[in-house]
């Protein structure tokens, strides 16, 4: 928590190490402060998590539906869904770049991949936080998991397959940069050599890499659609939950995933641009491209929201209507309208820039944050109101208010993600090293 302690270390390292690109191995004061804060938050999250493990989920705001008038799934599941959504955008963009050889966007590829890996790890921890018996969860899922539970898809495809594929993808792509950096004699040389794993950047190796990643990308794209749809099915197949049983769950799910992921990628790219001094590689073109993509997805998402709104307000009766009422005019209205306004304002900002063809990175970052806040709100609305207001038997309306433990765990997770990215940035170039560096080295 105190930056004073880490300060001297950083200056020493600064002196010791030869200069690597993108400030790798170069620990600045700002980075130290950021990491210290992130560590503190992670520590708090860990404490909250352990407290919950020792006392049980009674310390959360979660409770049973029905007579207890609560929601058994809350913030953890909302963020699980959110994190999985964020991962979508990362891997999609990375795969698109490879598949269609979009050279101008190449600088985004690694950070997109990283975002995917990190958010998937966070998603799996969020699952563990949600489980009443996490250790059993780890063991029993491997031991007994049943294919017909929609959870199986989430578990096998999303967590294991998707996470592993992204890791492989990230790793194979990093080998070249690691090999380049391993030529410098630094403290990180060992790590870089290890990651490079014998990569010498021969044309044959480059060729093999291109071929492998192409096939990987090809394999990942359909899988990620399936995986995200599966997560949609976790909700969409539930007949007993008004507001969930819907064919639109899966597509809307995928589109909102794209919105939040691209939004976050914009924020990350802007940070990298300024921190790593990558103004040339992460230029206006990159941001304009992201902005256009985000605009398209936001329009698509708002279209889904509109259709859902129309169907649920016109066609629905009974408990279905109760859930809609709770979301549109009831206790959850502020979240719904808050999110919707954020989306609309963001879209307006994007369209303005699109039409004027003047892209402002600061505005884009604000929009990126806005759509993510809105996405978190929407994830919450997917998960919670159908439980508190969607009982088909005449139970009283329930309520759910997260406790400090849940906020603690979720903040800890976010901080953990930020920490992981910050550390990664100091180890491996987060923007692929450009050609000229390559030329110099050889």
């Amino acid at each position: 928590m105190t930056t004073a302690v880490t300060q001297p270390d950083m200056t020493r390292e600064e002196v010791d190490l030869p200069t690597l690109p993108q400030g790798i191995g170069h620990l600045t004061r700002g980075w130290g402060v950021f990491v210290a804060i992130a560590l503190a938050v992670v520590g708090f999250g860990t404490y909250a998590f352990m407290y919950q493990q020792s006392e049980g989920e009674i310390v959360t705001g979660l409770r049973n539906v029905g007579t207890m008038g609560g929601a058994p799934w809350g913030l953890y599941v909302a963020f699980l869904v959110y994190f999985v959504g964020v991962s979508f955008a990362g891997i999609t963009i990375a795969a698109l770049i490879r598949l269609f050889n979009l050279q101008a966007l190449r600088p985004l590829a690694r950070m997109a991949e990283l975002l995917t890996v990190v958010s998937l790890v966070l998603a799996s921890i969020a699952i563990l936080a949600d489980l009443g018996q996490p250790l059993r969860g780890i063991v029993n899922l491997f031991r007994y998991a049943r294919p017909q539970s929609p959870f199986f898809g989430t578990f096998v495809l999303v967590i294991s397959g998707y996470l592993f594929a992204s890791l492989v993808y990230l790793y194979l792509g990093s080998r070249r940069d690691a090999a380049i950096m391993a030529r410098e004699s630094t403290r990180l040389q060992g790590l870089h050599s290890f990651v490079a794993a014998g990569y010498t950047d021969t044309p044959a190796e480059r060729d093999r890499h291109e071929r492998a990643t192409f096939w990987l990308a090809l394999a990942i794209l359909p899988m990620l659609i399936v995986a995200h749809s599966t997560l949609g099915f976790v909700f969409g197949l539930q007949i007993g939950r008004p507001g969930w049983f819907s064919a639109l769950q899966a597509p809307a799910f995928v589109v909102l995933a794209g919105v939040s992921g691209i939004g976050l990628l914009i924020v990350l790219a802007a940070v990298v641009r300024s921190v790593c001094d990558e103004r040339d590689t992460l230029d206006e073109y990159v941001f304009a491209w992201l902005g256009r993509f985000l605009a398209v997805l936001t329009i698509a998402y708002l279209y889904f929201v509109l259709t859902e709104l129309l169907t649920s307000t016109y066609a629905a009766g009974g408990r279905e209507a109760d859930v809609t009422d709770a979301i549109l005019t009831g206790r959850y209205a502020w979240i719904f309208w808050g999110s919707t306004i954020l989306f609309v304002v963001s879209l307006a900002g994007l369209l303005t820039q699109l039409l004027t063809k003047r892209w402002n990175i600061g505005t884009l970052v604000a929009i990126g944050i806005a759509v993510n806040l809105a996405a978190i709100g929407k994830r919450f609305l997917i998960v919670v109101p159908s439980q508190t207001d969607g009982m088909l038997l005449p139970y009283e309306t329930g309520s759910y208010t997260p406790t400090w433990v849940e906020y603690g765990v979720v903040l800890g997770l976010i901080a953990l993600g930020a920490l992981a990215i910050a550390v990664f940035m100091k180890l491996i170039p987060i923007v692929e090293l450009p050609e000229e560096v390559e030329a110099d080295a050889s």
């Binding site: 007994y144 998991a145 049943r146 294919p147 794993a197 492998a212």
Partner: protein
């Protein structure tokens, strides 16, 4: 040749594991019988996950396997 063989082996083993464990070793489909709540082979889901991992690991095998020619070089 060795690279391609090993990669293919890894890939096919992975896919095979997925198919075999998913369709024949995990719990049978249908939910109306006691037996359907248990996998036919305990830890079959672990095999499925291993299969997925092997499938993607084949790319690592493909890229990382040292070249025979290279190792022969002085």
């Amino acid at each position: 040749m060795r690279r391609r063989t090993l990669t293919l082996l890894c890939l096919l083993t992975g896919l095979g594991l997925i198919v075999v464990s998913y369709f024949f070793l995990t719990a049978p489909w249908g939910s109306d019988r006691v037996g359907n709540s248990n996998p036919r082979l305990e830890y079959a889901p672990l095999l499925t996950v291993l299969g997925v991992i092997l499938t993607f690991a084949s790319a690592v095998v493909y890229e990382l396997l040292p070249d025979k020619d290279k190792s022969g070089e002085p």
